[in-house]
């Protein structure tokens, strides 16, 4: 697919299509950026190319000069302790083109994709560190939800089992990404906003202990989706790669 028509008299027509690199570098804006972001979702090869470029450029972070930072740790901690609807800092959050790249998933909910934009909201994070549950096939005693997370293309569906008592979600082995990416699990409740639940292990089953705010999002009818993300998971807090599998939670 050719890039959007680039009008320029300076030999731009002959310049190679470097859209993936341009997206990773961050030079695109407006419609060009929106088109490129949609392409990330639609074209796994392109998504991988963008990721490869992020990796190419990463050594530059080592060179980035450090600057004595203000001590805002106390302020940050106060924000973490604050009530649910506290806006994040004083940042102006506004719709980003990224929101437009979730049509397939957003269509699963009854709410418009615009709901995706309200993402920078803190929830109370009660201090707690539950132990990692051992993956187990034993059925839990109480409310359980399951989802069959079906790959978009070929492949074996991943079964997800949510144990409400323990607040854990267990998934069968998934082979949804190549070794140089991470498969990230998202819950998409009725409001259509994806929330990360964590990164799936590359081999074997995965067990994730959910944070309190995510436990509230797990309900019958909510969608579980898996996207391809940079290793370690999306750095932005929003899905950046294509949805490779999804399924709807239902009670057992």
């Amino acid at each position: 697919m050719p890039p959007p028509a680039g009008v320029g008299p300076e030999g731009l027509e002959d310049a190679p299509d470097m859209t993936a690199a341009e997206l990773a570098l961050g030079v695109l804006d407006g419609e060009e950026r929106a088109v490129a972001l949609r392409r990330v979702l639609a074209d796994p090869d392109f998504a991988r190319e963008v990721e490869r470029w992020r990796g190419h450029l990463a050594p530059w972070f080592d060179q980035w000069p450090a600057i004595a930072a203000p001590d805002i740790l106390a302020r940050v901690e106060r924000s973490l302790d604050q009530a649910p609807a506290a806006p994040v800092a004083s940042l102006v959050t506004r719709p980003r083109p990224r929101s437009a790249i979730w049509p397939g998933v957003a269509a699963l909910s009854s709410i418009a994709a615009a709901a995706l934009l309200v993402v920078l909201v803190t929830r109370p994070l009660a201090p707690m560190s539950p132990p990692q549950p051992a993956p187990s096939v034993a059925a839990p005693l109480a409310p359980t939800l399951v989802a069959s997370i079906t790959p978009e293309g070929k492949g074996t569906p991943v079964t997800a089992i949510y144990d409400k008592n323990a607040g854990t979600i267990r998934l069968t082995e998934a082979s949804l990404t190549s070794a140089d990416h991470s498969a990230e699990l998202w819950v998409i409740p009725a409001d259509g906003t994806p929330h990360s639940l964590g990164v799936l292990r590359t081999q074997g089953a995965t067990a994730l202990t959910l944070r309190p705010e995510n436990r509230q999002r797990i309900a019958a009818g909510a969608v579980l989706a898996v996207t391809v993300e940079p290793v370690g998971g999306s750095p932005s807090g929003l899905p950046t790669g294509p949805v490779v599998a999804k399924g709807v939670l239902s009670p057992v």
Binding site: E10, A15, L28, A58, P65, A66, V76
Partner: protein, 199 residues
């Protein structure tokens, strides 16, 4: 464009303290992912100067950089559980969050900063985080070697885009050249870089 005080090689220490620093950083990030507040404070102490450097350079003003830094650490707290220490460099993961947040702010403000920062606070030593592993060093050497093969104007434009977080439109405006010309420079430079990096 000559505003690149970034090429200075980081002071190299012995590998052992660096490895220890990296291990401590990974540990702090992983434990932050387990909602460990003490680890989060440790993480702040270890990384705030680096991440503030990212925010400051892109935002171009101190107050905004502070606000963005605040948002960055809230994001880190929420997202740290998704960090996989076996597969990603901690500083790349953290700095990517900072760069993305700062760019979001900058573009939301529609700031047009025509000149590089002139009142930047003094750069402080970054040695503990500068070199994370042998692999990082090799990747770094490769990138810098390949950049040397580019025309100066291509290299400068690509570097400026990365470190200042600016778009084609602003790159062209800063250089007072047509947008199409800037795109052509950068695209050809990126193509050459790709050939060198992946070839």
């Amino acid at each position: 464009m000559t505003d690149h005080p970034l090429d200075a090689p980081a002071p190299s220490g012995t590998p052992s303290p660096e490895a220890a620093a990296r291990a401590r950083l990974v540990d702090a990030l992983v434990r932050t992912g387990e909602e460990d507040r003490a680890a989060f404070r440790d993480l702040y102490a270890l990384t705030s100067a680096k991440l503030f450097g990212v925010c400051y350079r892109i935002c171009g003003e101190r107050q905004a950089a502070e606000d963005v830094l605040h948002d960055v650490y809230l994001t880190i707290w929420r997202r740290a559980g998704a960090y996989d220490p076996l597969r990603a460099s901690p500083i790349t993961w953290l700095a990517t969050i900072a760069r993305n947040r700062a760019i979001d702010w900058q573009r939301a403000q529609k700031i047009r900063r025509a000149t590089p920062i002139e009142d930047a606070p003094p750069v402080i030593d970054t040695a503990p985080l500068a070199s994370e592993s042998m692999l990082q060093d090799e990747a770094s050497d490769l990138l810098h070697g390949c950049l040397q093969g580019l025309e100066a104007r291509q290299r400068d434009a690509i570097r400026t885009a990365f470190f200042d977080g600016v778009t084609y439109a602003e790159l062209a405006e800063r250089q007072s050249i047509p947008l199409g010309t800037m795109k052509s420079w950068v695209r050809r430079g990126l193509a050459k870089l790709k050939e060198c990096l992946e070839g």
